[in-house]
Every structure is written in C-alpha cells, then in structure tokens.
C-alpha cells in the first residue's frame, strides 16, 4: 500500500485515491491549432524510472486533486501538494521552509479559504 500524505486529510492509504495521470506537462492553450503541440501533450510521455510528477484524486476523501512527486522505482513519495493553482500558491508560501522535511509540511499548510470546508473538516484525520 502506498501512503499518501494528503495536505487536507492527513496520511491515507492509496486506495482512497484515484490515480489520474502524469502531471508534469501542460496542455496547449485551447486556441492553439498546432497539431504537433497537441500530439506531444496528449500522447507523449517522459516515463522516467525515478522521480515522477503525477496527479492523484482524493476520491474517497476531500476530493481534491493532488500533485504527487513519487519515485517510480522505489515508490517513495517526496511531496504532495494541491494541483489547483490557487491552493498550490497558498501551499508554496508556507512550504518553502518545509521542502527539506516534506512530511511535516501538512501541519503548516493554511486551510484554503474557498475549499469545501465541510468535507475538508470531515476528512481531517
């Protein structure tokens, strides 16, 4: 079992989550009509043996999408932050000092103001 430290809910088993996909790339802008850019974003993957940036959906928890840095060979998880840009910013402010000790980052994370506060509260372990 992987154990994922959800910034909102705490340390949880990975079968509470749904793995979404590689989170390292950016999709082209919607008005971009360059087929090659779409081809690369939709179909090509770096597929590293080592650190991998990926998105997990906390389906059976806070339902937030989380960006996880995980080693694909050892399965060690180095960091878990919210994927959404608004929440990510809130996280990164307080996470700067926590980068060396990602496991304790959760404790210093400010509660996102606009989060579905009820489910976040209920899910908090």
């Amino acid at each position: 079992m992987l154990r994922i430290e959800c910034p909102f809910c705490g340390l949880r088993n990975h079968n509470e989550f749904t793995y979404l996909e590689d989170g390292s790339g950016e999709m082209p802008a919607l008005d971009n009509i360059d087929g090659e850019a779409w081809y690369e974003a939709v179909f090509l993957r770096d597929n590293p043996r080592g650190m991998h940036i990926e998105d997990w959906h906390h389906t059976q928890g806070c339902r937030m999408v989380l960006r996880v840095s995980r080693n694909t060979l050892t399965h060690q998880i180095l960091s878990v932050v919210p994927s959404h840009p608004d929440y990510k910013e809130m996280f990164s402010d307080s996470a700067k000092s926590a980068n060396s000790a990602p496991k304790s980052a959760k404790a210093r994370l400010p509660r996102p103001k606009s989060a579905k506060s009820k489910s976040a509260k209920d899910g908090r372990g």
Binding site: M1, Y19, F43, R45, T72, L73, H75
Partner: protein, 427 residues
C-alpha cells in the same frame, strides 16, 4: 548450417538411445555465447519477442549473423512473469490479423522448433453478466467470424455444462448470463517458449549473449552503427529493440525522445498445486471486476487482474489489487476459497496510449522498435517475432504489422480496442 548440424533433434528414438547410454549425450539447449565485435543485426532483449525475432531472422530471412543481447538471463522479464494466455479474440483492424497470425504460428510452434512449448488449446471463455456486456461480446463475436476467427456464443446452460463448478446461484450478486468462447485459444508453457526459440535460434547460428546490458548507442552519420555494453562495444548496422517495460529508457538512450508509452506494473498469482480443476481459461468481468484464471499442468491455479494503476518500474505488486483479485475469485468460483496462494509477483508493462503495440521502423536509420505490448505480450510472441524479423530484414513492415507504427498517434490512426482513449492505465 554448421550450427544446425551440431544440434541433435529431440525425438522418442533419441530418448531411448540416451536411456541406453546413461544419458551422457545430452547437450545444453543453446550456446551461451560471448560477443563478437560486429554482427549483421543486433536484437536487444532476450524475452520471447527478442528470441522469436532472432529465430525468424535466421530461419526465414537467412540472416544468421545475429546477436541477441540480454541484460539478465533469457526469459527473466515479462516472458517469465505472465499468465501464459494465448488468444486472438480481437475486433479492431490492425489487431485482428496480427493476433490471428500469431495464433496460427502457435499452432505449429512445437513442431517447428522441435521443442514442446506445451501449447494447449483449452479454450478461452469470457463470461458476461449484463445485457450490455452480452451485446459487446456479440458484436466482437460477429467481427471475429467475419474475419475468419473462431468463436462460439454460449448461453448460461451451455456455460454451466462446460464449467459446472462456478457460482450459478440465483442470489449471486452478479449472476452469470452466458459466455463467449474462443475454442482455439489456450495456454502455453512460458519458459518452454523462450527456451525453444533460444535453442532453435542458437542452432541456426544466432549468438545469445546473456548478462550483457546496453549502456549506449553508437551513431555515425545519422545512422545507428552499434551499441555500447558492459561487455564492450558491439557493432551492427541494424538494431532491433524488444525490451517492453524498459522501452522508454532505452529509447531515450538511443535518441528517440519521448514515446507514447508509460510503464505500469501488473501482478500475477499462483496457488498451491491442486488436482485437475479447470480445463479452460476463464475470464470474469462483472461490472468493474477483472479476473482471469487457468490451471497450469503442474496443478497451480494461475490468475491475475488489473494493473496496479500507477506508473511504476518496481517488479512487485501492491495489496489493493491482491484483495480485488481474491474478491473476484470468490465471487465467480467460491470453491477456490480454501486454496492457498503460493506466490505473487509483478512485471513491468509497456502501456501504450491506445492499448496496442508497436512493431515499426523509427526515425533513426537502422533502429527498429518492438514495444507497447501492454499486458497482452505473451500471446503475441510468435507473431511479433515474425513481423519484427520481416521489418528488420526488409527495412519495411509486413502488411500485417503496417498499422502498428509509432507515428499513428500523430496521424490520428489509433488502434484503441477498449475505447479508453489516451490513458495507458485504463487499457
């Protein structure tokens, strides 16, 4: 041909002769070769696909100066980690002809290789549980019959007659409605396939070089000219890669850049050996469940389910799928409940973006790619080797593998059998 002459054929007469002379005349099945500085063709990857490629290069195309490089031992990767199911019940153009060609090669393989690969056409029975599944399988049945592939549609009574010891109770959570059978499908002995191809290829002069890991590629003038390995530089103007699981790593090394592939792990399980219990390959797929099971000749129940679901290069499985597979087993075949699981392991799958493989030339002259087998590579071994050898020998794909290009995503020609779109974990 001199290589061929040195290898004695296996036969009943040979066994009697050896029996009378104290079994002192047997020889190793293949030569454990040391690398020469140069070859006509290098095949990277000593699994079933690589070994079959080397064999067909030598036997059909007459290219016998071939090196097969394997970083560990032959058949030690996914070829030795699968559930040994062989079938050709596909319905999308590009897959149908290819897998049927492979199944036909399986049917004559033991004779061709003079090695018993224990191919057993015990049938492959996919159960259905909902009207939707029934309609989807009926559609597949019709497509297969139109393509000249065998199939039979069974109602619940016919399934019960064929496999009486499933859960047929009316209050079962997912009652069995019927099944779709491919009678010519079945299982084979995975190690025997590797060893059979290795022996036959070696007899034709192919050098099988184990413990030889590729660490780099030699490019000269925009063409591939050889590889660097932990056993020195080996040169060849044509190089074929058949390293499913590690394709992205080797492709990056070769300069191919990113590929439409993710590496995922798939688990397989085997139980303690029991008396003959199941004489077909059974597939269960009620709602989101996924479970397939057969019995090996040794008696072990061999079974598996879905991918673990996240990118991984670790050859070990995780608990949620373990419980998922056990739950499916108990639902469809409760009699298994007291059987102990003996071993469980995982292999690394090349999951492609449409669930279909690649047997193709690459953008680099002289470099050929065989990859993206998702979790259906075992059944494809003979067909894949056959097509890949043709592609390498002629520098052009055979008609059968011409749709299996790397470029099909750029052109919008995906071969998406399951219709899941560009999500490798879903195929």
């Amino acid at each position: 041909m001199d290589g061929k002459a040195r290898v004695k054929r296996y036969s009943a007469l040979r066994i009697i002769k050896e029996g009378l002379s104290g079994h002192k005349g047997w020889q190793p099945a293949w030569r454990d070769a040391t690398p020469k500085p140069a070859y006509d063709v290098i095949v990277i990857g000593g699994g079933g696909h690589g070994l079959a490629t080397a064999y067909y290069l030598a036997s059909i195309h007459g290219i016998k100066n071939v090196a097969l490089l394997e970083k560990g031992w032959i058949g030690g990767g996914n070829s030795g980690r699968n559930t040994t199911i062989v079938r050709s019940n596909y319905s999308i153009e590009g897959n149908t002809a290819f897998y049927e060609h492979s199944l036909k090669l399986w049917e004559g393989l033991s004779q061709e290789l003079n090695y018993n690969v224990m191919f057993s056409q015990r049938g492959h029975l996919s159960l259905f549980f909902t009207p939707g599944q029934r309609d989807a399988l009926a559609r597949r049945y019709n497509i297969m019959r139109l393509n000249g592939i065998d199939g039979e549609f069974l109602n619940r009574d016919q399934v019960q007659k064929m496999v009486p010891h499933l859960n047929y109770s009316e209050d079962s959570r997912f009652p069995i409605m019927g099944g779709f059978l491919q009678p010519r499908a079945g299982t084979a002995r995975h190690d025997a396939v590797n060893w059979g191809y290795a022996r036959a290829a070696s007899a034709l002069g192919v050098d099988i070089i184990q413990n030889c890991e590729v660490t780099g590629f030699i490019h000269e003038g925009g063409k591939i000219q050889g590889v660097e390995t932990n056993r020195g530089e080996i040169r060849a103007e044509k190089i074929g890669m058949a390293v499913a699981g590690s394709t992205s790593l080797l492709a990056k090394m070769a300069g191919l850049g990113k590929l439409p592939i993710e590496s995922h792990k798939l688990q397989a399980f085997v139980s303690e050996p029991i008396k003959p219990f199941l004489d077909t390959v059974l597939v269960y797929s009620a709602y989101n469940g996924h479970f397939y099971i057969s019995q090996s000749d040794k008696g072990g129940m061999v079974f598996g389910g879905d991918l673990d679901g996240y990118n991984s290069y670790a050859q070990r499985g995780n608990l949620p799928i373990y419980t998922d597979v056990a739950g499916c087993a108990m639902n469809v075949m409760p009699a298994l409940g007291r059987v102990k699981i003996l071993r469980q392991w995982a292999g690394i799958m090349d999951m492609s973006m449409d669930g279909s493989p690649f047997i193709a030339k690459t953008d680099i002259d002289g470099l050929y790619l065989n990859a993206g087998w998702c979790y259906g590579g075992f059944k494809a071994i003979p067909g894949s080797g056959w097509c890949f050898a043709h592609t390498i020998a002629n520098d052009a794909p055979h008609e059968i593998n011409s749709p299996l290009t790397l470029d099909r995503f750029r052109q919008g020609r995906q071969i998406d059998e399951s219709g899941h779109g560009p999500f490798p974990k879903a195929h």
